[in-house]
Amino acid sequence: MGRSQRVSVTREGWYYLFILAFIVGGAVMRQINPLFALAGLMIAPILFNWRFSMASLRHIDFSRRLPHRIAAGEPLVVDLELTNELARLDAWQVCITDDVRWQGTTRSRSHEVEVLVPGIAAGGHVRTSYRCQLYRRGRYHIGPTQVRCSYPFGLISIRSKKQITSHLLVSPRMGFLQRNWRRLIHKQRSGDQSSRQRKGSTDGDFYSLRQYRNGDSRRWIHWRTSAKLGELMVQQFDESTDQHVAIFVDLWEPEELTAADLDAVELAASFAATAAVDLCRGNSGKLTFSVSGETPFFHTGAASKPLLNTLLDHLATARSSSRSHPFKHGFQAANFGMQGTTLLLVSTRPPEILETILRSESTSTVPGPNIPDRLHRISVLDPEFAHWFSISNNPMVTQSLEDKGSANAQKKPATVG
């Protein structure tokens, strides 16, 4: 980590120096002894301030801790730890300024966060923290950090830049899944399928270790851990359930972007993230996610925490693209031809364009029968989307959207299968 110290005179320090110059001038020119004494007494604070602040900052070590990822809108707590390596000198009134910068496609905007630490004892350390609320998803850089001290008199300020940079991913904001979603998922869960695929006990992901009990298979004994602990420990696996959900997120943007288009992209990402969290919470079934956009993403697996983490990491930085194709990775007939797989397409295209694309899609990539009919598709720009997802829990907004939706429903046929 690099450190560079910069000395500057504060505004108050300049006023002080001006008066000091006046006093020194008067003392020297008129040989006024009390002014000599006063000048000496006024020079001392500047020297003390300079040396004290310099010595304090030179021996302050700094570290920052923050989570790897948070959701947008969620409070971010950044822990700071300052250590005073000096054995005999306390450090006082230390200001730490962190630079929080969003790394987007547009020019990065930064925001400074300042934390004041009144005192760090000699040889001691202080843990402090600050709270942030970041509403925009993406990648953030936090740092470099500036540590500043003007103690004791505020005349001289010493700044030290610590080149400690941390990275933070902010995943899309969690919203509120509405009745259409609940209907879709509840229908799947309530046994509407005619068959359930049974899975063996070996299927699924490892997620825990526990003590051996009578009846456990010896194949699942984790010998290394058992040797370490001196008792038998077996692995536990996650058993998959029958629900299979495949969600396709089409992050499309027109050639000429408007604010509504950008909002649509964010809404789609938030919906995807919220849906993923909802699906992974129950830890049941298989989940497939396909996110198209600037950097397409496709992942399938058991609905689990690791999958969720991977998805949220990607959604944090997913960008829309005008070349986005909703079925980039295509339908894998072997997987999605089976009955029981819930298919949902969320797109940022206008509803009419979406329908057009779906109809014109070559069936050669979709060998299964009736797949387009089984595919639930919804455009974020469609007022009906309010029945699927809402970013806020404002009943008035929801009601107005429902009113719009019902008004549109009278005009257009339903698009939901």
């Binding site: 000599f36 006063l38 000496g40 989570p67 054995a87 929080v100 040889g123 402090t128 909002d263």
Partner: protein, 815 residues
Amino acid sequence: MINIERVLQWNIALIVVVGALLLSLGNGQYFLPILAGGSALFSLIFVDKLGWFVLNRFAANILALIVAVIPLLNFFDNDNQAQLVSIARLLIHLQIVLLLEKKTSRIYWQLFILSVLQVVVAAALRLDLHGGLLFAVYILLDFSGMILMLMQRDRERVLQANVLSAHAQKDAQAMLLGNSPARILRAAPLASFKRTHSARQYLAFYLKQALIFTLMAIAFATFLFYSVQRTGDTWQGGQVQDFSMVGFTDSIRLGEEGVISESSRPVMRVRLFEYGSDQPFEMEGPLFLRGTTLHSYTRENGVMGWKPTRRRLTMSLVRSRELNNIDDRTDYVKQEISLEPTKRPFLFTQFPALAINLRDRNRFEFDPYRNSLQLEEEPKTRDELRYDLAVMNIRERMQSKSYPYENPFSSRQEPMLSQQESELLGLPSERTSRGTLQYIRTLAEEWAAATNDPDDRRLVSLGLERRFQEDTRFRYTLDFRDVKRDLTLDPVVDFLKNHRQGHCEYFSSALVMMLRSLGIPARLVVGYYGPEYNDIGKFYQVEMRHAHVWVEAYMRPQDITQEMIDKGDASPSGAWLRLNPMPLNSEISQINDNNPSVATRANDALGFAQMLWDDFVVGLNAERQQKALFQGSMDKILEGTYWQTAFNATASKIPLVKNDPQLAVQVVLFVLAIAMVGYYFSPRRQKKTSTRRNRSTPRTWLQRISPRLARLFGQTEVSEETIVIEFYRRVENLLQQSGYQREKPQTTREFFASVSQALGNHPEKPEINRCLDVIANRFYAARFSDHELSDREKSDVMSAIAGLENLLTIVPPAR
């Protein structure tokens, strides 16, 4: 509860008051500090605390403008001193205006700056010892004020940022509840501060540090002060005293009423050195310091009084001249006088006096008619005046009763001429004195007749003096409230005939007039008498209250003896006989107390400190700096034998060293060895060492010597592994406090799953699950893997624990 800002307000108020007090100590006018103190108190209560009265910015600016303009109206008409005082007053008024405004960091800083500027002016005007001590207090207040202002500025910045963040959060909430809530997804990030610690708990440390900084600053300033080379004389302040305040006056008016107050204001310091000695000595008897003489008793504006002379013609014939130089004489006492700044050119000394140091800048001139010493012209600077003279009438540490007469009109040693005699025999006319001078004449003759030889002028003069001293009917007083006067009589006659109460002017006036009525030329002498000797500083401190009037009577050649001439108390032309007709039982006569009390000692110490302050602080010039500091001290320090002598002198006072030096050395070595061992095992050093060795906690003495014994006392080392798993224990404790108890066979994940199940449909459940997931993952990673948790992983855990802790406070406990 202690509030930083409140402490700062008090501090600033004290700065304003003490600053105003510093100015007043120089000019003796205390209206401004009273005004400043009242304003500060008003501000603290009604402006800062209650907020009942606050001057807005516009009104304050107008008021400040008025306050600044009014003194400027006649600013340029005043002299330099008055201009400086005017500036200082203006600065105090501006501070008062600022005190009435609502306090912000800017206002505090402005108050501070104005106060410093005003103290600069006060220091330039006059700063005596009391001011110097108060100055140290002022500096302490300044330092603590600067520290508090820094804390206040930081605090205000944090508060302001919190307010902005609160607004931003409200905007975000409004956005969420608005018609386009999705817009928030693209809103700029906002941040909020968290005030991590209250600075109140550190207030005592800050103020203690202010004291330490003050002492260090004083030490530094002292070093700098004495290191900077002075170039010549220094300006010692210009608070000049008017003679009328000093007590000394060159004219007297009789017939006052009421009480006359005395002042202890210092006038001068006098040191006496015998020839060839550099040690000052104290006289056996009282000290008389002559100023000037008053010859003529006349009525002016209906009041009788004394004036220097009414014979202008006489004065025009007498030319002042320089004092004679000392040449090769050795029968003198050196007299060093430091006189406070004065507007008048009079100087004080004893006679006869010869010149030792003549300074070109302030040339002395000697008036042989009045035997007075003065400067050629009014002093050029407002400096303290120092002059050394050789006086001839102190023998065996006693001041002679008489000194030789020198005829001012003749270079030959001739007696007093008739024209001078006639002036010194002058009495007011019967019409002027209302025809009552006959009483004086009669009384004088009566008292003269009681002496041994009524024809011996010397004996008659001494007899009259003794009569005043011993007659118990006469009483010294300064309080004329109960004195009944007869206004139809001359005041001196009234004094002699009726009330017989008065001060030195009355007694001396009466004696002069009685002597004159007997044909003995006599005059009043105005000067100083009976100052106390400062035993510590070895000097006489003359104060205003020591102003005195006594009598000199002329003795003709036939009235003196050869012995007097031989001793130097007279000349062939005659002599001036000093007479002090004060009652012996009066306070003014009780001097030279041989058993000084504690208060006297304390007073002496204070006087000595004042002298040091005047000489080596306010009055430090090039000459004094060179002689006392550079040459005096440095020569000693550089001298090799000085240290050896000092060491021997110190060591000889320690009994062990004196009796058995070898044992003393062994004791010292033993103590040093114990100290080194103690330092080696000291916790502070261990802490530094353990930090270098990546220990999490330093080892105590006991742990280093015997870990087993240390464990008995509960001092256990904490290992890294324990610390790592410790976070899981903390989580278990947290959950336990909320009623979630882990069953024995439950794994971590099973335990957390049961907690999640118990939460039911609580809205915070997803968040709690997320925290528990993180904790469980990290726990397993730490518990079963080979590598330590990375910083990021540790940070995840700590954040999750913090989040869990918060959430559990709002989740109802498990049943």
